[in-house]
Amino acid sequence: MNHSLHIPMDDLALYAIGDLAAEDRGRIAEHLAGCEQCRAEVASFGGDWALVGMSTPEVALPAGARERFLSRVEADAGRAGVVQNQTESLQVAKGPVLVAGGRAPRKPVISWSGWAIAAALLLVAAGLGAQLVETHRRMHELDAKLKQTEEESKRAALVMELMTASQAQHAHLAPAAASRTPSARAVYLASRGALLLDAENLSPVDAGKTYELWILPADGSAPIPAGLFRPDAAGSAHLLLPEIPAGVRAKALGVTIEQAKGATSPTLPIVLAGALDAPGE
């Protein structure tokens, strides 16, 4: 991506408050992924919008709003098993309570029958609350599963696109040096930032090391890390849709051996390298 072409400040100010069409948002998000300067500008404008919000003259809360909120929190805490208040209540039921400062606890003014009614009401409320929580929990689970399915579906669609796109580039990666057993094949779709690598006959690497794939941009800028992988016992390794920026026009791919956490720039020697063919070839 050409970072010399930054997003106009006017658009960054609107992006910070979500006021752009989805298409424009996607374009800007793509740029932001690789541009620290624009990210900082968005953060600044986001802070400015927050200032606008904080300039609102405050009005009083509706009567009982605080109590309603705290009751909800208390009910949730109770259901979650954090029952500090309940513990205190139990202590009251069992006998005298030691109070900081040595003051004796105030004598209950409600009769035992009153406590029994209150306890019964609490049990009913707790039962209803528990049902509500269970419903919420299931909704959250379903929501999470739906999101996961959507994500998997998106990835599957992208893999299909990667494998069939006429604009996809292909490369055959062979050892940069003389020996030749290891090799890899890769498919790269610059417009989507999608990449697939299938390697075989790779030598094992030490426990603290890993193979790292690099994209070599066509404009000669610094190689972009494109994912870590380790071969299995047979020397095979696969890399599917690593997180890489979209829109990077690349001329070649390379593989190096790096420390296990990966590197920000490749460490020589390059163990596998291959030029990408032209899109659509």
Binding site: A16, L51, S55, V59, R72
Partner: protein
């Protein structure tokens, strides 16, 4: 001495220890209800006021407020580390959730994910109300040509396209006025 022991507590005019927002959020993560109550006391009115200004409906505004704070209680880590101060984050989330309600759009637009630059310790100043009064004065001082589109964008939830339609001004002019107004506010407040 461990690092946490170096974190300051602030003595307020009321003479009691004043926990920072981050301290409170840590306690909320440990399910401390009193810490959540303190956060609510600090920012409940801010969130409610913003929601009310957007929605112009007290019941709907309270719903927004209750939901925001309850979600914070359930997951105090949902405000990422790059989301600025708690006050700033709450102000933006309040606006976004209220606009969601106004437009009945799915509350899934990732607007809350936009990072917010932390501009000084807004939280402490907000608590003292000094900054908020200063902001109100500065907003009033902005030229109407900047103030109005910012108001329309933030509190009425209008897009710049809609603002351009309503005002009859070119899109580019609206964009520029919004950006200039924000920069003026930033400079005036000195953050």
């Amino acid at each position: 001495m461990v690092f946490s022991e170096l974190e300051p507590t602030i003595e307020t005019s009321k003479g009691r220890d004043f926990l920072s927002d981050e301290d409170l959020l840590r306690r909320v993560a440990e399910r401390d209800q009193s810490a959540m109550a303190e956060i609510f006391d600090r920012y409940g009115r801010l969130v409610y006021s913003i929601a009310l200004r957007v929605l112009k409906d007290t019941a709907a505004a309270e719903d927004v407020m209750q939901e925001i704070f309850f979600r914070l209680w359930q997951d105090p880590t949902r405000r990422g580390s790059d989301r600025g101060t708690l006050a700033a984050w709450l102000a933006v989330v309040a606006r976004n959730r209220a606009v969601d309600g106004l437009r009945r759009r799915k509350p899934t637009d990732p607007v809350d994910e936009v990072p917010l630059a932390a501009k000084g310790d807004l939280a402490e100043e907000v608590v003292q109300r000094g900054l908020m009064e200063k902001l109100q004065r500065q907003m009033e001082k902005l030229p109407a040509e900047q103030h109005r589109p910012i108001d329309m964008a933030f509190f009425e939830g209008l897009t710049h396209n809609e603002i351009a339609e309503r005002t009859g001004l070119p899109l580019g002019t609206i964009k520029t006025r919004i950006r200039s107004g924000l920069l003026s506010l930033r400079e005036a407040v000195g953050l």
